[in-house]
Amino acid sequence: MSVAVKFHDIRKDFGPVRVLHGVSFELAPGRIHGLLGENGAGKSTLMKILAGYEDASAGELLVDGVPRRFEGSREAEAAGIVLIHQEFNLAEHLTIAQNIFLGHEKRKGWLVDDTAMRREARELLAQVGLARDPDMKVRELIVAEKQLVEIAKALSRHARLLIMDEPTATLTPAETARLFALMTKLRAGGTTLVYISHKLDEVEKITDDVVVMRDGRFVAASATAGLARQQMANLMVGRDVSDMFPEKGAAPEDAPVALRVTNLTVPGWVEELSFEVRAGEILGFAGLVGAGRSEAFEAIMGLRHKQAGEIEIDGRTLTLRHPRDAMRHGLTYLSEDRKGRGLHMNLTLQDNLTLMTLERYGHPLLDLKACRRALEKAVRDFGIRTGDLDSRARMLSGGNQQKLALAKFLQPDPRVIVLDEPTRGVDVGAKRDIYFLIQRLAASGRAVVVISSELVELIGLAHRVAVMRAGRLVATLGREHLNEEELIAHATGTH
C-alpha cells in the first residue's frame, strides 16, 4: 500500500519571512521522487510540513486524497510518513535496538520487552542489510551505518512514504550504491520515497521523477529520464551552469615541494603514508569513509597522536605538536565537520573570521576596527552573502558558512591548506564559487589538498589524486588516469 501525496498552494511564513510561496504538486505512489533545489529553496521546510514537524501557514495537504493536517511527527508516522533528517536523530549512547524502538518500546506488562525488540531489530537490520549486533551502541557505528539504522527505525514504524534529506552527503560511493539498492527494494515493496539531494548524478541514477523548487516556489516536475543533468542544474539555479569547474592550470612539475609526509603511522587509522604536494598544486585525496584520510591530516596537524612519520614543510623537517605549530609554519586544515569543528555557530562572523589570527589585532587590546575591516574584505573577496555583518554564523546558509570557514582558515595566510569535504551540504551555486576559489589559491602558489567523497569534484579540480584504502595509500593517479572507474576500483580494492 503506497501513499500518494498532493500539495495544494502550501504557504509557510517564519515570522515576517515567507519561505514557501504557494507550492502545488503531486507525488505519485510507489515511485522514487527526487526533490531538487538549492539551499533555501524550501525543500526541507515542505518535507517537514509533510512529516508533521512544521505546520503550513496556508494551503492544503492531501494524503491519499484525504486532506490532512498533522499535529506532530507521531501523527504523520501513524499515517506511514517518516522523515529521516540530514542530521540523524539517534541517541548515541543507546544500542541499535533501543534506538529503533525509541518512543515505541515494546512492553511486557510494566517492563520493556528487550528480547522481542532485539529479535525484531535483528530482522529489520537484515532487511536494510546492516550486519551488526542490535546490542551495539550507536556511537560505535560509522555514519553510513547510522543511516541504515535510521531506515530500519523508519521501517519499524511501517513507513509507506519515506523522506530522505540528503542521505548520501556523508556516504562513500560504495555505501551510496548499497543505499540505492535498498531504496529500489523498498520501492518494489510499495513504499513511496522522496529523495532530497544536491548530487545530480545520483538523482539521475536512482529517481523515477524529479521535482525542482527554487526560492520557495515550485519550478518544474518531470520524469527523470526526460531531463538531462545540465537541465536539472539550470532549473535549480535559474541560470546556466555549464561550467562548474575552472580551467585546470598545468600541474606545476618543477615547483618546490611545499609539504612532504613520509611514513606517517596513526594507530588504528593510517599506516606508513607518504606523499608530497608542490606549491601551486591541487592534490586530491579519495577513499571510502574510514579510509583514514581525515585522520592522517589531523595527525599531521598535531590534532591526533601519531606513532611515526616525518613532516617537511618547504624543505624543513618539523615537529608539529599542536595546530598552532602547524599554523605558524604555514599549514592549516579545514575540517569536514563545519558545525562541530569548523565554525562557532553561536559567534559573530567577525569573531569567527579573526579567531585564528587575533594576535595580529591585539596590541594588546584588540583593534576592533581592524577586525571589522578584515570581515568586510573577506565578505567581498569570498562572496559571502549576508544581510547583516553583525549576524551570527548559524544564520548563514550552508554555502555561505562554508565560504566563511574557508576565509577563516586562510586568514593565517597558509602556504599549504587542507580542505576536508569543502563542498559538503553546499548548493550548486556556492559549489562553483568554491571550486574557482580553490583554483585561485593554487594559482597564487599555495599547495592545496582537497579531501572529498565526490569523485566528480576531485576529477574536475585536482592535478593528482591520492587514493587511500584501509589506512594505506594504494595509488596516486595523475591526470591521464583520472576517471570515476579507476578511483572507485582503487578505493574499494577491486582493481
Binding site: 515570522g15 515576517p16 519571512v17 515567507r18 519561505v19 538549492e38 539551499n39 533555501g40 529553496a41 527554487r214 526560492d215 520557495g216 590534532l303 599542536h322 595546530p323 598552532r324 602547524a326 599554523m327 592549516t332 586544515y333 575540517s335 562541530g340 569543528r341 569548523g342 565554525l343 562557532h344 555557530m345 553561536n346 559567534l347 569573531d351 579567531l355 585564528m356 587575533l358 594576535e359 589585532y361 591585539g362 594588546p364 587590546l365 584588540l366 576592533l368 552573502r385 544581510g387 547583516d388 553583525d390 549576524s391 546558509s397 554555502g399 555561505n400 577563516k408 593565517p412
Partner: protein, 339 residues
C-alpha cells in the same frame, strides 16, 4: 536562505534582526533593571537605605564575592566551574595569618614587611591553587566539577587542621597595621570597593578586548572548533583557573583585616554566592557567552537583597538565602531560551 530577496522580504528580515538584537540587549540589561528596581524598593521601605553610608557599606561587603565572581566569570565562560573558592579563601587566610604570626614571633622583620609578605603569599597561593586545578583538569582530564569538589574538601580540612579546630587569629600589632586595607577610604570610597572596581574594569577589558578573552569565549562556545582553530585550549583553560585563584587571593587579602582571623567557617558558601552572581549576571552556566559587567551587577544585586532584609522587618533576615535563591531561579527563568 539566499533567494533573490525582494525588498519587502529583506526589509522584514532586517527589521527582525534589529528586533532580535534589541531583545538580546534588553535581556542583557535585565539584571541591571532588577537591581534598580530593588534599590527603589529599598528606598521606599527604609529611608536609611539610600544613604551614602549604607550604599558604601553594601559595596564593601560585596567586594569579596564580587572580586571572586570576576574570576569565576572567566572560568564559567570557558565552560568550567570552580566549587572550591570559599574553602580556598579560608585556607589562604589561615596560611597568611599563620605565616605573619610566625614571622612576628621571630622578631627579625619590620611589621610592614611581614604584612607585605602575607599579602604576597595570598596571591602566590591563589595562583598556585588555580594552576593545580587547571593542570588536573586539562592534563589530568578530570571534570572541573570533580576536581574542585575534591579540593573544596581538602582546602577546608587543611585549614581546620592548621587552626586545630578553632581560630587562627592575627596578632594585635599586625592587626593595627593591616586594618586600613579593609577599613580605610580613599577619596571617600573604601579601599575594598576601589579594588573591586579595578578588578572588574580589568576583567571586562581582558574578556572583551584581548585575544585571551576571545579565546576563553571561543572555548566555552565550542571547544572542538577552538582546538581546530589552533587555539591552545589547555593553556587558556589553565589560565582561567589561575586568574580565578589570584582573584581569590586578592579577596582574601581584603578579607583578613576585617576580622583578623580565620576559622573553619571562613568563606563558607562563597562558592555558591560567586557562581550565583555570575549566573544572575547573565552568563550561561554551560559557557560561551557572558559579561563581567553583568557579574558585577549580579553580585551587588545579591548583597542588596541581604541589605534590604537587614534594614526592614518584612521578611526575617534568616530567610536571606531563601530570597536570594528565589532571585536566582527567577533570573534563570527569564533567561531560558535566550540562546
Amino acid at each position: 536562505m539566499q533567494p533573490a530577496p525582494t525588498d519587502a522580504a529583506s526589509e522584514g528580515r532586517r527589521a527582525r534582526a534589529a528586533a532580535a538584537r534589541l531583545v538580546h540587549r534588553l535581556a542583557g540589561v535585565g539584571p541591571l533593571i532588577g537591581l534598580i528596581a530593588l534599590c527603589v524598593l529599598g528606598t521606599l521601605l527604609n529611608r536609611d537605605f539610600a544613604t551614602a553610608g549604607n550604599l558604601l557599606n553594601v559595596l564593601t561587603r560585596t567586594s569579596f564575592i564580587g572580586i571572586i565572581s570576576v574570576g569565576m566569570t572567566f572560568v564559567i565562560i570557558s565552560g568550567g566551574i570552580d566549587l572550591s573558592v570559599g574553602s580556598m579563601a579560608a585556607l589562604i587566610a589561615g596560611v597568611m595569618i599563620w605565616t605573619m604570626n610566625t614571622l612576628a614571633d621571630a622578631h627579625g622583620l619590620a611589621p610592614l614587611a611581614i604584612v607585605a609578605t602575607g599579602m604576597a603569599i595570598a596571591l602566590v597561593l591563589g595562583a598556585a591553587f588555580g594552576l593545580a586545578h587547571g593542570l588536573l583538569i586539562t592534563r589530568g582530564r578530570i571534570e572541573p566539577f570533580i576536581v574542585t569538589l575534591g579540593t573544596l574538601g581538602i582546602f577546608r580540612s587543611v585549614l581546620t587542621w592548621l587552626a586545630d579546630g578553632g581560630a587562627l587569629t592575627l596578632q594585635n600589632p599586625l592587626v593595627d597595621l593591616y586594618g586600613p586595607v579593609y577599613y580605610a577610604s580613599l577619596f571617600g570610597i573604601p579601599v575594598p570597593v576601589w579594588v573591586f572596581a579595578l578588578t572588574a574594569a580589568g576583567g571586562a577589558l581582558i574578556l572583551n578586548r584581548t585575544a585571551f578573552g576571545r579565546h576563553v569565549q571561543a572555548i566555552g562556545s565550542n571547544e572542538q572548533v577552538a582546538r581546530y582553530a589552533a587555539i591552545r585550549v589547555d593553556r587558556v583553560k589553565c589560565a582561567t583557573y589561575v586568574l580565578l585563584g589570584v582573584c581569590v587571593g586578592v579577596a582574601t587579602v581584603l578579607y583578613v583585616p576585617r576580622l583578623g582571623s580565620a576559622t573553619p567557617t571562613t568563606g563558607l558558601l562563597w562558592e555558591l554566592e560567586a557562581i550565583a552572581a555570575v549566573v544572575v549576571g547573565g552568563t550561561a552556566l554551560k559557557g560561551g557567552e557572558g559579561r563581567v559587567a553583568g557579574t558585577v551587577v549580579g553580585a551587588v544585586l545579591l548583597s542588596v537583597i541581604a541589605n534590604i532584609l537587614n534594614l526592614t522587618s518584612i521578611i526575617s533576615v534568616y530567610l536571606n538565602a531563601a530570597v536570594q535563591g528565589v532571585a536566582i531561579i527567577a533570573v534563570a527563568f527569564l533567561q531560558r531560551g535566550r540562546r
